[in-house]
Symmetry: C2
Subunit: 694 residues, 2 copies
Amino acid sequence: MKRILIFAAILCFCGCTWAVAEEGMWLFTNPPTEAIAEQYGVTLTPEWLERVQKSSIRFGNGGSASFVSPQGLLMTNHHVGISTLQRMSTADDDLVKNGYYAETLADERKCPGVELNVLWEVRDVTAQVQAAVRPGLTGDAAEQARRAIISKIESATNEETGLKCEVVAFFNGGLYHLYCYKKYTDIRLVFAPEQAIGFFGGDPDNFEYPRYCLDVTFFRAYENDEPAETPNYLTFSENGAVDDELVFVSGHPGRTNRFKTVAELKFYRDKLNPYGMEKVYRKEVTMKAYGEMSAENLRQVQTEIFRWTNYRKVRLGVLTSLQDASLMARKEAEEKALRDEITRARLLNLNEASPWLQIERALKQWEPIMYAHDLLETGEGFNTPLFTYARQLVRAAQESQKPDEKRLRGFMTADLPNIRTSLEAESPFYAEVEIAKLGDSLTLLIEKLGAEDQLVKQMMAGKSPQNRALELIRGTKLADAETRVAYFDTAIEVGQIATDDPMVELALALDKRARELRSVMETRVEEPMRQAYTKIADARFKLYGTTVYPDATFTLRLTYGQIKGVTDPDGSTHPAWTIMGNTFKHGEAHNFIAPYTLPDSWMAARDRIEADTPMNTISTTDTIGGNSGSPMINAAGEIVGILFDGNRVAHARSFIYDDTHIRSVSVCSTAIIESLKSVYATERLLQELETVMK
Amino acid sequence: MKRILIFAAILCFCGCTWAVAEEGMWLFTNPPTEAIAEQYGVTLTPEWLERVQKSSIRFGNGGSASFVSPQGLLMTNHHVGISTLQRMSTADDDLVKNGYYAETLADERKCPGVELNVLWEVRDVTAQVQAAVRPGLTGDAAEQARRAIISKIESATNEETGLKCEVVAFFNGGLYHLYCYKKYTDIRLVFAPEQAIGFFGGDPDNFEYPRYCLDVTFFRAYENDEPAETPNYLTFSENGAVDDELVFVSGHPGRTNRFKTVAELKFYRDKLNPYGMEKVYRKEVTMKAYGEMSAENLRQVQTEIFRWTNYRKVRLGVLTSLQDASLMARKEAEEKALRDEITRARLLNLNEASPWLQIERALKQWEPIMYAHDLLETGEGFNTPLFTYARQLVRAAQESQKPDEKRLRGFMTADLPNIRTSLEAESPFYAEVEIAKLGDSLTLLIEKLGAEDQLVKQMMAGKSPQNRALELIRGTKLADAETRVAYFDTAIEVGQIATDDPMVELALALDKRARELRSVMETRVEEPMRQAYTKIADARFKLYGTTVYPDATFTLRLTYGQIKGVTDPDGSTHPAWTIMGNTFKHGEAHNFIAPYTLPDSWMAARDRIEADTPMNTISTTDTIGGNSGSPMINAAGEIVGILFDGNRVAHARSFIYDDTHIRSVSVCSTAIIESLKSVYATERLLQELETVMK
């Protein structure tokens, strides 16, 4: 109770809503059990927490999922599974378009290249890590010391536990946990709906509500060629959730910036994010213009177009929220309150050694190199994988000749086989796409670094961006995997690449400047900021302990909230539910023209479907990208939905929690069951789910 | 001959191609007759020139056309006539989609709001204008004196001649001509093809070659309700042009920057044009995203989307050409050669009083206010006509209370009725479109002027850009024409607007700063640059007289060149012709999916059409936007085509002429005649054309 009271005091003091009711992406090691008990009269038992934790799955590199039967059956979003479906599809057997259902266990199809992780064990290793970074160490030295101890802890525990162990930093290094995961790599497809209903409404409806998506896919984890035994799993609720009901989301939010200083948020608002938008606008336009030239062109760049359209919506949402003075004022009040507390408790020197000032100083180092670092070192000035290959070859040649401890990150002896594997991988290559992308990014490079810059002049070789791109893409042999590997083998053998490949020459020409920029970025920006944030996190700990939650880091979190309707900023109000029957009306309103074309299976089932069944629902749970596929559960620990999106204004959650207009969007458990019954007649799957339903 | 020799000397001296063979958008008062006689053995007689001049038409505000019969029949591009067709269309009678043919004279349909101008008489008024601007006058004073004398000359000659007279400046004020136009306002539609063939290949094919468009429409000028008598007209050539044939284009190129200093071109390259691209990318994306939400949304913003796609292609073409170091090196060599000549002839002080330095200094004044001026004074930060209305009301209120000579341009007593008319005009209004546009431009405003700027804060009222846009568009009454006019009448009566309309309040709030920016722009940037360019033009005159041509100013010009195939920068080569039969193959290659759907009339006529008939053709003539619809004629003065586009790299012509890869694209006269015969069977029209053909 005491911790809650401290909170309340801050709330009163600064007049802002620091940690409002449902805010927080909580660690399972520190769930907000007291607040939930207080507010909802619901007690989360250790057993409840353990079962939910061990039922929750990190899916591949960007999504969430959960076990829904004791035989390894698991559920995620269709849009989380889609890249897997795409890899398994051929022109004749398009699983994305047609969906899939395995009538028997034997029909469950193996999915290539998917890894699932389930958080099994957590240990606090903060003391060990912090002790290794001796005070006074700066830049590279601090970073190296930290990396060394982390890698030591990880390899020791990997052996000890047989699990996959990772040291993860929370609170910008205020807390280090060792996370040990149970890993599954034999995953098979059980059921996927057609993309037309999985992503009904397509890009126009993406990040909107009301919504009508069956964004769900079932896989099964296998061990030793048998369905995995998963005693920790979640059952489906019989009737789903109701208005105002308390719900939980257990999943893997990707990244938030809630605890960045106001100075850094303003840097994002004023510099970094506008630049990011500039890039995404031109990429979207360049790819769409290319795609419009023919159906085949469109096919080649369809996923690029989806990536940039989606990314643009997210980034623009974040930027315009940062530009909202009332939200920024809340962040300022939060920061002031924290600084006042720190001063009162005499925890930190807030004068010249203030970590806030340290961050401001670091940002001042970042600003003048922001474009150059991004264009030359991150490689945004050369938007083609062929440049990335060239860069890897050039650096592998140089780094492989040094002792391990002097090498760049990613080029240790142990990393080289991975680099070779990545160079070996074949992927579709369309020269005209790469020319369009590279031409556009060279135009940006000239704009930002200046046409009179000597290095720019050298790189452009007296040509227009389009003609230089043409020359580079036509001239390089790096589109060929065998050539890449041959170059690589020579490179690490003799320490240089004896080639007149124009892309390699380009990468070589700019490498010195790129490395200088990288070094400035690492030593004068990133490391000072890391240290400053550690100091702030430290002080915050001393004040509040773990009654605050850390920023999202694609690790398992628990969030809670209520099923609740919404009033949009434009004044329109929406109930907390849509119903299955209105899915057809939504299609009709768009004349069923793509992306509002319903699949034949749905059109045929129109009369069979119980029209009033809740379809999608919104809640005040605190989620963000990465949470996609997370189970939404009730107090009894039963599945009432699966999270798949946020509404239009939800992107502000990157840096602030607010439930005035923001909602998370989920597919209702009822819609999943009703579609499996009335549309897809997936008896075997239903039986397995209903067996586990109460 | 002597003038030509001076040229040759310069060419040798600087090693560059200052005025290569076909360069030049020549005034009819100074055609390059000697060069043409020399190079092609063709003599342009005064009669030839007069007939071509008086057959050439300036069409509305942005295109060219020509008389093709003595009864006022005239020909322009379909894309020049399209906005007229659109205004004449209804949902049931869509002239854009279906085309039109008037079987009888009585069927020729009246076109609302079209004005044609034919250049009838030219007088040199340089001495009069220059004398009025006394040396030493700067800024506003110089500009006012110039405007006064110009308006005096114009009104005197209007009365004297009964023509529409305009003083036009060439060579940045080195030469002032009085242009008197014969005006036609009763225009009727004779024939238009379907847009599907008029703009075949749509946006993807726009600015590309090979090409297959029947981009032509016929109108007729009337006087006193009878077909106008137009003894000056062009006849159709019987067989069209052949490879390497000398051809002429007589039309109205809009704007070029050929005689800007290198410093100003670099300012475009480094500052102005990148900013322009940034704006067009986001506008295109914002409008397309809006359009994708439903068919109705798309209908609302279709023309906006076309505008920005087209504009983006043009502007990107110009920017990437400016970024081409080899082209810039040519501009630098040209400039050096001119400066050397000036120094040798002791024509100008090229030290501290150098006009080149004066221009550089003016650009240094421009740079720091570039964003603010564009956003606040030009109004780009408030991208909705509702803001433009508000601005007009606010300024009309203030300006109408001053004596005429103290008012802002456009707000004289004589201008007020025009403002009222423009406020009165009804046009479709879609609140959601305006919210999207305004929201995007407010985001840009914050990015460029800074979220902490006091005026920005005041304008945003503590809201996000989207929410502020919502509030402004929902709150204002300016979408209603009657309200606008009522506001206006009060405004000029009492000198202020007693309204709490939020858009008017916004326009008022920023007006002081906008006016300051305007004043800086006019007095410290534009006027010093105008004076400097006048000095350079003066010196150029003294050196070369009118053997050089002035930059394009949407006035009548003659250019010449050859029908010639092309090798693209990517190495692909194309003959100078496409043929009608391949129009079908081009459609087939795109599965006849829009914009590659051929109209039914063409599909039905496939077997009747003579497949080998030349369809579109390319030439080295020196043209640019505004030339669309210009007749392409042979040495005998006969029409061999109608110009409608440039190829992909043609945008460089904004600042340089080059015929390595650049071509102008025309519809062949043969394709026009063959379609009228075999597709449309327009006997009456053909008879009129063939009567005038030899």
